[in-house]
């Protein structure tokens, strides 16, 4: 829902676009509107396992920075967003006829793992690497 809070377990820290996302859009603080909407990029998303209620099985970390992707994928798409061919076409179609198709989606293009130390169902302590836990870059798809 536009304008809704991030929900339980996730807090947005900061508020300025993360350079790691490569959006390069100095959008913070702008008024809503086409020029004010931030381009697709990586934004903070602090995940607190305790708030999720997962701290009864996760030993560490109790929180981490997951990031999220946010912003518009509108015409013309920037090359650093590494749009798919389909996204290029869809974005072009959207710019010509908004009712024909929505803009392409700003989504994680590259994710990285984190390691978690947890207690499994057999009460053994397990160290495991989980893939795709942190957004490294965002792109239009």
């Amino acid at each position: 829902t536009p304008g809704a809070g991030p929900g339980v377990g996730a807090r947005v820290t900061g508020g300025v676009g993360d350079p790691g996302g490569g959006s390069g859009s100095p959008s913070a603080g702008r008024a809503p509107g086409r020029r004010g909407r931030s381009r697709c990029g990586r934004k903070p998303l602090h995940v607190d396992f305790k708030e999720l209620g997962w701290d009864d099985w996760i030993i560490a970390p109790l929180d981490y920075e997951a990031y999220h992707c946010e912003g518009v994928c509108d015409f013309p798409l920037r090359s650093h967003l590494e749009p798919t061919n389909h996204a290029i076409i869809q974005t072009l179609m959207n710019s010509m006829a908004p009712e024909a198709a929505p803009p392409s989606c700003c989504v994680p293009a590259k994710l990285s793992p984190i390691s978690i130390l947890y207690i499994d169902a057999g009460n053994n302590v397990v160290y495991k690497q989980y893939e795709d836990m942190v957004v490294e870059t965002c792109g239009c798809r």
């Binding site: 947005v12 931030s38 970390p61 700003c106 989504v107 169902a121």
Partner: protein, 315 residues
């Protein structure tokens, strides 16, 4: 997919815990395995790990008023050290991706552990037993959860040897049994450690490893490769391993205590000093968090594991 506006910016400071976590397991192992680097890492635990230990301890003590049927789980220092050494970069704000367990293990020999993506620590569940401490040590591990763990790529048994106290050193007649070097009690030149499977109803003990029990100036962990026996074991049964000591030209049995193994009488060592079976495995399929959540849900559904109100609410 729609852009969201009006994000509520809320600066959340990272938890800044304080604490030091020495590693008793790192006292200088006979072998430096992958995880050895972790167990021997110096420096404080990350704030998260310190907090985790405190939290788990609180849970164990039942101070949360939660589900009393929850067994106490005290993470072994080795596992905390492993996490600390392999996850430092991932925990750093804006840090690079976490290295796989492999990256730390590859440098220690580039062996099969480099293929692992999961490390499970099984705590010894053998009850203290006077008889066994005089003739040998017995270790019991519930490895049933390995059925879901994928391929076992490596496994090691870690057993702590303490520097024997003076009162534990052998009497003269025992020393004589060790031969002409028996007087050099601190060195135990002909003492051997023998690791085997426990004798069962169908078959006798199978020798897995033997090694000289070298001189001991300070506590250290003996690390035995037990990958083969773990792979061949029927996972629905507890894995039982036995450690014996022999000495002298005639290979007479020695009380393991003389070599710094176990504690006298029926004393049970603290959790961080108990034997640990460390299994390195690799998932056959790409796993996600939902598998863990499902497994936890199944465990809670067992008889006697009534969920607390808080858990029910979260679920």
């Amino acid at each position: 997919c729609r852009p969201r506006h009006g994000l509520e910016a809320a600066a959340v400071p990272r938890a800044q815990g304080a604490g030091q976590g020495g590693d008793p397991g790192g006292g200088g192992g006979a072998r430096r395995g992958p995880s050895e680097a972790a167990s021997m890492a110096d420096g404080p635990l990350s704030p998260s790990a310190v907090e985790a230990v405190a939290r788990v301890t609180r849970l164990s003590a039942g101070s949360t008023g939660g589900n009393r049927s929850s067994p106490s789980v005290v993470p072994h220092q080795f596992m905390l050290s492993l996490y600390r050494s392999l996850s430092t970069r991932a925990l750093a704000p804006g840090g690079a991706p976490a290295p796989a367990p492999a990256s730390a293990t590859a440098s220690a020999g580039g062996n099969r552990r480099a293929l692992a993506d999961t490390v499970t620590g099984f705590a010894d569940q053998a009850p203290p037993d006077d008889a066994s401490t005089e003739t040998g040590q017995r270790f019991l591990f519930d490895v049933s959860s390995l059925a879901d763990a994928g391929e076992v790529v490596a496994a090691e048994l870690r057993v702590l040897r303490r520097a024997p106290a003076a009162r534990d050193r052998p009497a003269k007649q025992e020393a004589a049994a060790l031969g002409e070097f028996g007087e050099a009690l601190g060195a135990q030149p002909f003492a051997l450690l023998l690791l085997s499977t426990c004798p069962g109803a169908a078959r006798g003990p199978r020798l897995l490893a033997s090694r000289p029990a070298g001189p001991l100036d300070s506590a250290r962990w003996e690390v035995f490769d037990v990958a083969d026996v773990v792979r061949q074991h029927r996972l629905e049964l507890p894995l039982c391993l036995a450690l014996r000591a022999v000495g002298g030209p005639s290979r007479s049995p020695l009380a393991p205590r003389l070599l710094g193994l176990g504690l006298p009488g029926s004393l049970r060592p603290p959790p961080n000093e108990r034997a640990l079976l460390v299994v390195f495995s690799r998932a056959r399929t790409k796993e996600n968090l939902f598998q863990e959540l499902r497994a936890k849900g199944r465990a809670r559904g067992r008889p006697g594991a009534a969920p607390s109100a808080g858990r029910r609410k979260r679920r």
